[in-house]
């Protein structure tokens, strides 16, 4: 097989894997938008906050240590423990649930029946607030995410493809792990929404707020639930991206990678987020491979949006989004 074809196949596979990473971020947006019609601007910062909290708890970092030391003149920084990853993850999930309760209590509750743009603005405020609190709690250092995920070249794929084609494909083991985790996550979310009482309530609210409320479903509970699940998804995305780049404040910018995925896949579809992620991932990587060298490279950021816009021309609601028909 010609080298260029093999290279293109390798690029395509890596694009699929990158797409899964984008989809992980997009999922959090979809969950909240589907259940409450809110475009949660703070989803990227939630991923950052979750990752910071996870590393902080795991490494025994005292939250707000700098503030405490500055106010009381103390010199405390660490509790002196290093927790197993699973314990730290469970505790971080607890923190994200606590955060969901606080967001519902202090932000969302006061904005019931407001225009979507007001709720959107509130999430912008939330994003900046969380970024500041994250900084104050855990500091601005770049931290190593160490939850035991594999990283680096997959020997198996390298050797197998070499035996088949005479060229070993590079696939990052972290991307393989991300794909498996994303599959489990989506299966879990689907099972939760189909087979549990809370999941059905969530779908009812997503379908029709008023009708759901009239049969006694608590909007307050649903909001806490959906923000908790989005917090969990943010934690998963934070772990994956944090392992890739270290846990640092630019993690919040991963939201930029999710936007074209949402535009393409639709804001209300979980499968849309996954398929959208895969199309964006493959599309941008192949474009960079084939056209990038001709136009100076670094095409991925803008091409993802161009691709999403192209889809929007033919399907304004996105691939899997709900078609909105308003009769006047």
């Amino acid at each position: 097989m010609p080298d260029q074809v093999l290279f293109a196949m390798e690029v395509m596979l890596n694009g699929l894997m990158a797409g899964v990473m984008y989809a992980l971020v997009a999922l959090g947006f979809v969950l909240i938008y589907k259940a409450s019609g809110i475009f949660n601007y703070s989803q990227g910062v939630m991923a950052l906050f979750a990752a910071l909290t996870l590393v902080g708890i795991q490494q025994g970092q005292v939250p707000f240590a700098h503030l405490i030391n500055a106010v009381f003149g103390t010199e405390i920084h660490h509790f002196g423990w290093h927790l197993p990853a699973i314990v730290a993850i469970i505790l971080t999930i607890g923190v994200m649930i606590g955060l969901a309760i606080l967001i519902e209590h202090f932000v969302l509750k006061h904005l019931v029946n407001q225009e979507p743009i007001i709720l959107f603005m509130a999430t912008i405020g939330l994003a900046y607030f969380l970024e500041g609190v994250g900084d104050l709690m855990w500091g601005s250092d770049i931290k190593k995410m160490d939850v035991g995920l594999p990283q680096g070249l997959s020997e198996f794929i390298d050797t197998t493809t070499y035996n088949w084609f005479g060229y070993g494909f590079f696939i990052d083991r972290l991307d393989i792990a991300a794909t498996i985790i994303a599959a489990i996550l989506v299966a879990g979310l689907v099972a939760f929404s189909q087979y549990t009482k809370q999941g059905r309530a969530l779908r009812a609210v997503a379908d029709d707020h008023q009708a759901a409320l009239s049969v006694g479903i608590s909007l307050q509970f649903i909001w806490v639930l959906v923000w908790s699940i989005a917090g969990f998804v943010a934690l998963v995305a934070g772990i994956m991206w944090g392992t890739k780049s270290g846990v640092q404040f630019s993690l919040s910018l991963i939201a930029l990678k999710a936007l074209p995925v949402l535009m393409l896949g639709g804001f209300t579809s979980i499968p849309g987020a996954i398929v959208g992620g895969l199309i964006i991932g493959v599309g941008e990587k192949l474009f960079e491979f084939m056209i990038g060298p001709l136009v100076g490279g670094a095409t991925e950021n803008w091409f993802a949006y161009v691709l999403a816009l192209l889809f929007l021309v033919f399907r304004p609601q996105g691939l899997f989004g709900e078609k909105i028909i308003e009769r006047v």
Binding site: N14, F170, S245, G246, F249, K257, E284
Partner: protein, 425 residues
Amino acid sequence: MKKLTALALMGALASGPALADLVFPDLSYRTGPYAAGGIPFSDGYQDYFALVNARDGGIGGAQARVIECETGYNTEKGVECYEATKGEGALVYQPLSTGITYQLIPKVTADGIPLHTMGYGRTSAANGKVFSHVFNYPANYWDAASVAIRYLLSENGDSLDGKKIVLLYHNSAYGKEPIRTLEELSKKYGFDLTTIAVDHPGQEQKSQWLQIRRERPDYVVMWGWGVMNQVAVQEAANIRFPMENFIGNWWAGAEHDVTPAGEAANGYKALNMNKVGDLPVFADIKTHVHDAGMAAGDGSNLGSVLYTRGMYAAMLAVEAAKTAQELHGTADITAAQMRDGMEALEMTAAKMEALGMAGIGPEFSVSCENHGGSGMGIVQQWDASAKVWVPLTDFIAPEDDVTGPLVIEDSEAFAAENNIAARCE
């Protein structure tokens, strides 16, 4: 003569009215995606002024006052910070951002306030004939590119003929700076140069590293900043690119650039314009600043690469202020006098040793024509197990015969566009 001037200055101070503070704005970024680099630099910058105040009683008897303004590495905010602080009597600006630098060049020139962009900013500002108020000593980007190639030459028996070198760069004005120099050097030495861009912020570099894996270059030279650095080091490890053949510039060579990759980053190399090590001045900072509760940060960055660089930048500002005081016979210097001091600055080994910073930077002198210093840099290597940068070389000089004409060409084009008459004649 200098002693007499100093004595006269002290006499004048003893009998004169109370001195105003010498104002040094610190356009820092302690928040946002680039905070990990901005914080240690700002800590070092501010701590050194605090040290000079506490230990030496200020600069020539006048207290230094640092006004910190948060830019978030955002160009618009940086310009706002400049406008908000220049009226305080600012003596010199060091924005630590090439984007902000480009916006400030016409402003500082019109306002008569010097701008010091140490190892960043507009490279051709080294030509003092055109850029009267901009200084980029001790080195600039084109020097860095040349130093990297000279190092590689020394590693390859003075020949890079037929070698493949990839420049992996941040797709911004900053990242594109070395391309022209490297193109000239590739013609001169016969190496094959491939440039690969990474878009801001650089969290996703799979395409770029797959290309590097396919092309199998002998060396990768990186012009990165922020998260791009950490991801690049990790991706290089992922594709098993030999770390000793991967060289970052001096904005891709701090501790936080390599620690997230852990042991995999071992052997990665980077340029540096300032040596790191256990300098005696750190003990003074610990005693007079940190233990006295006056540290700009939490004290944890003391001695790190970017803390040392921030401190070095502050030291150069203080030494220029001292030079200005000597030149003009007053401690209460203005921005215009500070500019004169910067233009007459001379950094000798003896001076750096006396300041407790022996060998921190190369010896250099600034003149009306040369605002760029010597352009020298070192190569350092990361030891992941000891978690320290180990200097591999002494200061390496750039090839002025390559970079010099480029500086002249670019600065003269700028002068023609802006109707600037040449100075120093």
